[in-house]
Structure formats: C-alpha cells, structure tokens
C-alpha cells in the first residue's frame, strides 16, 4: 500500500527576556514558588498589561530568521478558558493578526535540504504550574512564577513527511533560536515544547484518502518525539486497514504519548473547552511595526547555521558532515573559527574538535562554553604535532591532560618530557640494540615482509615510551639493516 505521512508541528519556545511579557517580574527558571509575581501576572483587578519591547523584537527577529513576512499591524487577543494555572481566566495571545506569517525553514537531512513552510509565529504568555498533591490529599498546588512569561508559538505547514524529518525540523528550529539568542530551547526544562498533528494520505484504487488527524501531545524529548510519531503513523496504518476511517468521518482527536508504555493514548477534550471565545485584548492597543524597525532588527541578526555551514565548507574546505556537526551550537562554531584562525589545515582543527573535544565534553558532561581549554591551545597543540615534537597519538593524551590540569600544551610537553626523540644519535643506540635482539625479524624484513618493520617499530616505541619520532626511526632501521 502506497501512503505518505503528513506532519505539522506546533512549537512553543520560552523567550530569554529579563522580565515577563506584560509586567516587570523576573523571567527565570525555578525559584521559590510564587516569589516572582505581582498584581499583573496574578490577574488582580485594576492591573493593566504593558507589553515588553524585547518580546516584540525577539518575535520579529525569529520571524525574519524564518523568512516570514512581518505584520505592519499586529494585535493581542484574549483566549478564554478556566484553569487554576491561568489566574485571569484568559491568556493574552494573538489570534487573527499574528506578528509574523508565511515563512519557511530549511531542514537538512542526509545532505538533502527541504523547505518546511511556517504558517505563523505569534506571541503569547505562559501559564503557571499546577502540582498535584500526593498521598490522596484532595487538593492541587499552584505556582505562578511562570505565569505571564513570554512565549513564541511557531506553527508549521503540514509539510513534514516523516518522524525523523519532524525531529530534524524542531532541531533546526532550536538551532536558529539559540543562534539568535531568543530562547535556550531546552526540551527537558520545558523551554521548548512541541505538539504535532499527524495523519496519512493513503493511495488506493487511484484515489487519495486522508486518515483522521491526530494531535500528539506530551513529547518531552527528541527521542520521545521520534518514537511517538513513528508509533502513531503505524497505528493509523493499522487502523486504516481495519476500519477504513477517514478524516471527513472522524475529524481530529488528541492522543498523549506515554513514554513508559511506548504508545499514544486517546484523550478526550471536554467539548466546551475548545470554545476559547477569542476577542481583541482591550487593554493593549494594536501595534504597528515600521519598516525602519524591521531594518534595525534585521541588522542585529547574526550569521545563521545554514549560512555558516555553507561558509565553513567553502572557506575552510571541511566536509559537509563536519560543518553540520560544528554548527550544532554557536559556541562550537566560534571555538572552531578561533582555533582555525591562521592555521594551514582547518580540516584538522575541525576533526580534532569533533573527535577529541567532543569526547572530553561527553566524558565530563559539560558544554563547550564550560570547556577549560581555550581554542588557541588546540592550535598550539597541533602546531607542536606538526613540528614533529610529539606524535598525534601522544597529543591526544596531552590534550586530556590539558583539560584536566589547565596547563598549556607546550608546558606539558616540556615538564613531562614528552618530546619525541628525533636526535639520530640517541635513537641510533636503541635501533641497533633492537636489531641485535631480533635477528629473525630482521631476516623476515630482508625477505620483504612489511609486518617485520612494524614489529621492530613497536619494540623501539616500547623502549622509548612512545617518544621515538616514527619517520626518523624508519629511516634508521632501513639504513642499519641494509648496511649490515
């Protein structure tokens, strides 16, 4: 059976402003419950919202990076619903005049890139947090620290064609938001939340059938997202085979991903809950956005991952894959560029960062921002290798030591006496001794067995604790044996 998977994503990102969306309370993660609240975000009568300038400019910034059209006139609306974490019983959001609309995001997978349409980007305030009492207590606790903090909602077109592509889409979105410094997009901490609409287009009897759309919620990690959407596509396929239900007949339902059970579970929305009775927020005037302001914000947008990748491949001659791995974070890009500055083979710097630096970051569970070895030290270390002072193998140990001790490469090579023995006089004695002690290996070598050379090299490396300069050693072995 031929079919397509059709996915659209709704992503919420928390903005990194200092204060909340419509009041001056601090916008931070964590903290003592209800320690960052005021009459406005608690919805006390008579308090009025005043929009945060940076929330609006962040939204425009994000919209521009997503190739959206920025609205000349935008307004806020009230979305009405009753829930304890929403103190005003409405959420200030945007309904029919969102700040940005009609853009796209380029998603790269396996070296191929595809444009995923962005329907809209709008601003809204977050709700507080409910904590349900344990041990049979008949109450819930509410913390309003998060209430009124600014969010962007980014809605994609149903252009995504697989679970994997959905993950790539959200990861690219995260990358861009981080580069823009608009949001830290941490899925585990909830500063990036994603819901997805998914259904199948099934081609049968020369006709196309759409299965009922399912909104999948509660995907709290990229791994969960991939599993949930893969599961859901399979489930819909089975359901189609069994019942032939179409979108026209069933409409849309909501299912929550249950990570422990590895399945999506049907959820029922109270019918009236969907009636949000949007109306224009009377306490905030519509906002017109000038071309001048858009121009200013445009100029503040840094080079984005997509452009960086192109430039890295072009200017540094590194592979596309390496460029993709480096552009995972802005800090990693900066680290690479600083290390590569003035160095002849940027490719080697890239490889070093992607293997040795990444390895240590994983081991120490730290981010590149916390990494103790300055980028220029990577350059220095590779220069020491280039000069033949130490081998590439020893350089790896030195690097780990640099990260642990915060000493420079030169200092460690010096104090630990790691410099290779390139002095022929010193090496000659060792080579002669090894040749003397291994007559049969020497005979093998003379008979043309390459392995014999490696064996002799190994013995010499052992005797010098790995410090013998390989090139010089090989030259000496060959000269000694043929001279015999």
């Amino acid at each position: 059976m031929k079919y397509d998977v059709i996915i659209g994503c709704e992503v919420h990102v928390q903005l990194l402003t200092r204060s909340k969306a419509f009041c001056s309370c601090p916008n931070n993660f964590g903290g003592a419950p209800n320690s960052r609240v005021c009459p406005r975000c608690l919805g006390l009568p008579g308090s009025l919202p005043v929009p945060n300038r940076d929330m609006i400019s962040s939204a425009i910034k994000a919209g521009l990076a997503l190739h959206c059209k920025i609205a000349e006139l935008t307004k806020f609306d009230r979305k009405n619903y009753m829930y304890p974490d929403l103190p005003k019983a409405y959420q200030i959001s945007q309904f029919d005049m969102p700040v940005c609309a009609g853009g796209y995001l380029e998603v790269t997978a396996d070296g191929q890139s595809r444009k995923i349409g962005i329907i809209r980007v709008h601003m809204e305030e977050d709700a507080g947090k409910n904590i349900h009492a344990q041990g049979g207590l008949n109450m819930s606790y509410v913390d309003y620290n998060r209430a009124g903090t600014p969010l962007l909602e980014i809605v994609s077109e149903p252009d995504i064609r697989s679970a994997e592509e959905a993950v790539n889409y959200v990861q690219s979105l995260r990358e861009i938001m981080r580069f823009l410094d608009v949001s830290d997009c941490n899925m585990e901490e909830g500063s990036l939340r994603c819901d997805a609409n998914i259904n199948l287009w099934i081609y049968e009897d020369e006709k196309r059938f759409a299965t009922p759309i399912v909104e999948v919620k509660n995907m709290n990690s990229f791994k969960a997202m991939k599993s949930a959407l893969e599961y859901e596509a399979e489930r819909q396929l089975d359901e189609w085979r069994e019942k032939h239900l179409t979108l026209q007949a069933v409409g849309k339902t909501t299912r929550g991903w249950n990570d422990d059970r590895g399945e999506t579970v049907l959820q029922r929305m109270k019918e009236e809950a969907a009636d949000y009775r949007y109306f224009p927020e009377p306490d905030i005037k519509p906002i017109s956005i000038s071309q001048n302001l858009i121009k200013q914000i445009k100029q503040s947008i840094p080079e984005l991952p997509e452009q960086k990748r192109g430039r890295f491949v072009q200017d540094y001659g590194i592979a596309q894959e390496a460029a993709e791995a480096l552009t995972q974070s802005k800090a990693l890009c900066d680290y690479f560029e600083e290390a590569a500055r003035g160095y002849q083979e940027p490719k080697r710097i890239a490889n070093w960062i992607l293997s040795e630096v990444k390895k240590l970051l994983n081991e120490k569970q730290m981010s590149i921002e916390q990494f103790p070895v300055p980028a220029r030290q990577v350059t220095e270390l590779l220069r020491i290798v280039d000069a033949g002072t130490i081998s590439g193998k020893i350089a790896k140990d030195v690097f780990a030591e640099m990260a642990a001790s915060r000493k420079s490469a030169a200092e460690l090579v010096e104090t630990k006496g790691l410099a290779q023995i390139s002095d022929t006089g010193e090496l000659e004695d060792v080579v002669e001794k090894i040749i003397r002690e291994n007559p049969s290996t020497v005979a093998d070598f003379k008979a043309g067995k390459q392995k014999a050379l490696q064996h002799l090299m190994g013995q010499i490396m052992n005797a010098t604790k790995g410090k013998a300069n390989p090139q010089v050693t090989i030259r000496l072995i060959k000269a000694k044996i043929s001279g015999n």
């Binding site: 402003t17 204060s19 601090p26 003592a32 320690s35 409910n130 819930s140 109270k270």
Partner: protein, 103 residues
Amino acid sequence: MIDDKTLQSVLALCKFSLSDREKEHFKQQIGDILSYVETLNQVDTRSIDPDLGKSLESMSLRQDKAAVGLPTEQVAGLSAHFQDSFFTVPRIIEEMDEITEES
C-alpha cells in the same frame, strides 16, 4: 432574550450553575444587554480611518527591565487558600481525561 441552549453553554464556560428561576431572569438580562450593544451597529463607520496602531517606537512599551514583585507575605494575604508558598485549589481533574479505547 437569549435561548436556553445559549445560556446553557455560557454557564458551562463560566462554570456557573443557576436555579430555574434565576435562569429565566438572566436570559432576559443578557438578552437586553446584547441588544443594547447591538445599537452600536447602527453607526456608519465606513468613512472613519481606523488608525488603530501606534508605531512600536512611539507606543508606551515597557523596557525589558526586571523588578521585584510582591513580597511573599503579601502574596499569601491575597488568598485564604495559601500553603507552603503555594496557592491551593481543589484537586484538579484533568481537562484531558485519558480514556480507554474501545476495541
């Protein structure tokens, strides 16, 4: 006068319940208010420039500066239901109930 169905859906949205006598009373009142507001529709606004927006630069937006909010004692004083720095509410029955699928 609004009809029963409309009143019923408004009550559900507000999480209100009314006695039958009150229902009749409010059907009349809400109807009167709506028709009063409807009179606004008689004004011809076609020639009026909406001039809704003010430019972002000139509008009174807030600089993104954080300030300390209410002290906890004051927050606590706002509600009779406050415990261990939390507001307390009757146990929340999830809006989204997990239901078992009919097989």
